[in-house]
């Protein structure tokens, strides 16, 4: 039987990566103030081409709307003005919470795999 499209391994991996992309974006910005292009490049270097660079921009817009990020526009000597993103206090709290949830999930999964390993 042909597997359902959304359950195929490559699709599942892409969905998983997309799912954690928000966490990745917040973690990248936690390293310091960055502009959109830099964030997209850093993430694409980490995640192979399955998650496209453009995916970052709607996430940045959403996180900004949710008040997790603040944006400041600054002039650049290398071209048009750049929009720098930084975590707000709310964003830092949310990131701590998300990282803790991820660590917990990771630990649980590792434990589960150790127990069920043949």
């Amino acid at each position: 039987m042909k597997p359902r499209k959304d359950l195929r391994p490559e699709k599942w991996t892409t969905q998983l990566r997309k799912g954690v992309l928000e966490l990745c974006v917040l973690n990248v910005i936690a390293t310091g103030r960055l502009y959109g292009y830099e964030i997209a490049k850093r993430l694409s270097a980490l995640s192979e081409p399955t998650v496209r660079e453009g995916t970052v921009y709607p996430i940045l817009s959403r996180l900004k709307q949710e008040g997790l990020l603040e944006a400041t526009i600054e002039a650049s000597s290398e071209g048009p003005p750049r929009k720098y993103f930084a975590l707000t206090a709310h964003g830092r709290r949310r990131l701590r919470h998300m990282n803790a949830a991820w660590d917990l999930l990771d630990d649980n999964l590792k434990t589960l795999r150790r127990r069920t390993a043949p």
Binding site: G36, R52, E53, T55, Y57, P58, R62, Q65, E78
Partner: protein, 290 residues
Amino acid sequence: MKRLTRSAQRALDRYLHTLRTCLTGSNAIDAHEVEHDVLGHIEQELSECREPIAWARLQIVLDRLGSPLMWVPEHDLPSWKQLLLRLRIGPEDWRLAYASFALWMLAVVALLAAYEPIALGALLGSFVTARAARAFGGELDQSDRSKRWLTEPALATAALVLGGAVLLSVLPAMALVSRELVEIDTLRLQFPSVYHISQRLVAVFERPVSWGWIRSALLHGGPWLLLPLGAWWLVLGGIARWRPRWFAITFSPGRPNCAARVGRLLMIAGALVIGTGVAIGLVKTLSIAI
């Protein structure tokens, strides 16, 4: 923003249109802001490229950015927007090309079944959709070449029908003029040779059109039929040669070079027709003299 080639500019406009269509309506995302950020990204990527930036170079950047269709989870959008998105964008870029081919096939089937009005309507529809597909796809770049096979039958058929009509349009005009001339008495008295030529042409055009008609038209109408026809082709060829854009708008969208080539061929054909007309005229004059 750096200067782009026409095809690259079209590709960028299309991409931004898709982006706006995908993101507008989402409460969580500011579509205008994302568009601005994406433009900044593209500008940064192309900052070291030489102007004008070609389609292929831009496409690399757009491929890395990915389709805006994949950026927003569908559940982030209202259901009407999801439906609209499916109808408006995506791989459905091919819809026009497929529609053109389907209408062309319908025209062929209707013609074989002798439903001429349906065939004509379908042919017209296939031509319009083929032109729209070409206009939407921009110049025939790598990604659009495969669409060519779907749109070419409609465009070629329309070019043949329309081209034939334009090439031979001088004949009905001549028939009309010669019929008017034989009615003028002063012409018969003052310019008897012009009158006789008009009479001959009227006789030629009154015969039913068939393969035999061409032979008798050449025999009776001879040079007086071929000279205006050749001159008309020379004029048309000149237009296609020196104003290829005018010709390309109707017959070969996006390929003015092809129009210039056709123009050269048409001028050669026109000259040959004139030469044949002159030769027939000379042979007839000589045979009468002998």
